[in-house]
């Protein structure tokens, strides 16, 4: 197979970027999208040109490093898959493919397709945890967790923090990311003590980073490599209201 790739190149955070066009040949359907970029990079290096910077690591859809907007869709056309899990058999031979970095103000472009997702780390730091120190914890079976609750927690905990939700959202909102963590911990008995504070603090951190608001377009859910449902955003809103009400009543 052969393709014409239009790829965003940008030297650093402040430099203006531009689209660069590369023709690539000798691609097979079994290759992943990133393996195709590898091939292109090897070609560039042989020509003494700089390789295209992009984030990638595990290449099996779990580390959340890869982050490409492919033909206007976060992680490309395949539902429930990260860019690394996208195989070239999903594209028509000879196609033109446009590759851009995540475009969200809170994720500044570092170089080419690589963006800084430190905003997500800071959101977690604002309260995406259960405040327990190591040691002194009760036996794992001390608190039974109903299986449906555990499943609900797990569905949200699967979030890989790739940022596709914000990248795909017309409002550049990262509410799915926030709600996945709030939903994960809120579904478990261990997360109850800080449930209200967590919702409040994580939403505040989300806003501080400059993400937009949620209007339930559902684009995040479609882009999410783990298909996390927008129901968690509903849950987050409900926790948030409860938090606000609690703050009124209890100060």
């Amino acid at each position: 197979m052969k393709f014409t790739l239009h790829i965003w190149r940008q030297a650093n955070r402040t430099a203006p970027g531009r689209m660069e066009t590369h023709a690539i040949d000798g691609i097979t359907g079994d290759m992943s999208f990133l393996e195709m970029i590898d091939l292109l990079n090897e070609k560039l290096l042989r020509e003494g040109k700089e390789a295209i910077a992009f984030d990638h690591d595990c290449r099996e859809g779990i580390c959340g490093s890869c982050s490409m907007m492919i033909d206007g869709q976060a992680h490309g056309p395949e539902r429930g898959a990260a860019t690394c899990q996208l195989h070239m058999r999903s594209f028509a031979d000879g196609a033109d493919i446009i590759v851009e970095p995540w475009r969200v103000g809170a994720f500044p472009v570092i170089r080419d397709l690589s963006v800084d997702r430190g905003a997500f780390d800071r959101i977690i730091q604002s309260g995406g945890y259960v405040s327990v120190n190591t040691g002194g914890t009760p036996d794992g079976n001390a608190l039974p967790v109903p299986k449906p609750h555990q499943e609900r927690a797990m569905d949200a905990a699967e979030c890989i923090g790739c940022g596709a939700c914000a990248a795909a959202c017309p409002n550049a909102s990262a509410m799915l990311f926030v709600s996945a963590k709030v939903g994960h911990l809120g579904a478990l008995p261990q997360g109850q003590a800080e449930r209200s504070e967590r919702a409040k603090n994580m939403v505040a951190a989300h806003d501080r980073e400059g993400f937009g608001h949620c209007t339930f377009y559902g684009e995040c859910e479609a882009a999410c490599p783990k298909s996390i449902s927008t129901e968690y955003i509903t849950q987050l809103n409900s926790d948030y209201l409860a938090s606000a009400a609690k703050a009124v009543v209890k100060g």
Binding site: N171, E219, S238, Y240
Partner: protein, 275 residues
């Protein structure tokens, strides 16, 4: 040596961050808080729309019925009507201002746009909320100018010998106007001397382009509400995954009911069923 107390007694002091102001700054100023306000005001406005539509259905009953209802609202309620109007205005302004503010912030959240951006499951209704909202705003202004202030279009007697013609003729006679000249909507009176809302509505919707404006705007309202209602329910954290389809259905049902009720009046005038 000073004799002042180190911690003098005085008015109650609130710990920092525990004042109502701090609460509002935290909860109401956040994207979620603002969105909840947009959703809440939206749902309240939907409540108004339902009441408005149900009241207007008295058109199908009799001129007496709707004119009496209008008289009740305008005169019997006294100052309360102004409270209601003020409330409505506040809801409308809050809804609009916050929605616009959020939208502007969202635009700022993506300073560099994509060359290509496709959507996968966002509905047309969701994507056009801002534009349908803006048109509904313009329509609301027009609607007020039209029926509340009577500034847009006067009534004239077109079809001979029906209720409207009688009312118009009556006014022409009373005001010594030449036959065929137009009469302001607000001057139409029924036999009891009340403002004749029934005649006004018939006069309004007999004009083709006015009906067309109303019909188009009702379609846009339907589109706006079909996303707005279910999105508000989700924003308020009321429905989860299992009931999302139910919320969508409810949204369509409510929006559809309002649409059908309102359009029925226009259609009935056009069809000559209401005359």
């Amino acid at each position: 040596m000073s004799t002042a107390a180190i911690n003098p007694k005085g008015p109650r002091v609130y710990p920092a961050g525990q004042s109502p102001r701090a609460w509002a700054d935290t909860y109401l100023a956040s994207t979620v808080g603002q969105k909840i306000l947009v959703g809440t005001t939206g749902l309240l406005l939907v409540g108004f729309l339902i009441g408005h539509m149900v009241g207007n259905l008295k058109m199908f009953s009799s001129p007496e019925s709707i004119n009496k209802y209008a008289y009740f609202l305008k005169h019997d309620l006294g100052a309360l009507i102004w409270v209601a109007r003020g409330g409505l205005l506040a809801l409308f302004v809050t809804h609009l201002v916050l929605a616009l503010r959020l939208r502007l912030a969202a635009r700022a959240a993506r300073p560099v746009p994509y060359r290509v951006m496709k959507t996968a499951q966002a509905t047309l209704q969701a994507k056009t909320m801002l534009w349908t909202g803006v048109v509904i705003l313009a329509f609301t202004v027009y609607h007020l100018l039209h029926f509340t202030l009577g500034l847009v279009h006067p009534a004239s007697a077109a079809a001979p010998d029906d209720y409207l013609t009688q009312r118009v003729n009556l006014q022409q006679a009373e005001r010594n106007l030449s036959p065929g000249s137009a009469v302001n909507y607000l001057d139409l009176k029924d036999d009891a001397g009340r403002h004749d809302v029934y005649a006004m509505v018939v006069a309004g919707f007999r004009t083709p382009y006015i009906s067309a404006i109303y019909l188009v705007c009702q379609v846009l309202l339907l589109v706006h509400l079909s996303h707005g209602i279910q999105s508000s329910l989700q924003t308020l954290g009321l429905v989860g995954k299992r009931f999302t389809p139910a919320a969508v259905a409810l949204g369509w049902a409510v929006a559809g009911t309002i649409f059908v009720g309102n359009v029925a009046i226009v259609a009935a005038v056009w069809a000559g069923y209401v005359k």
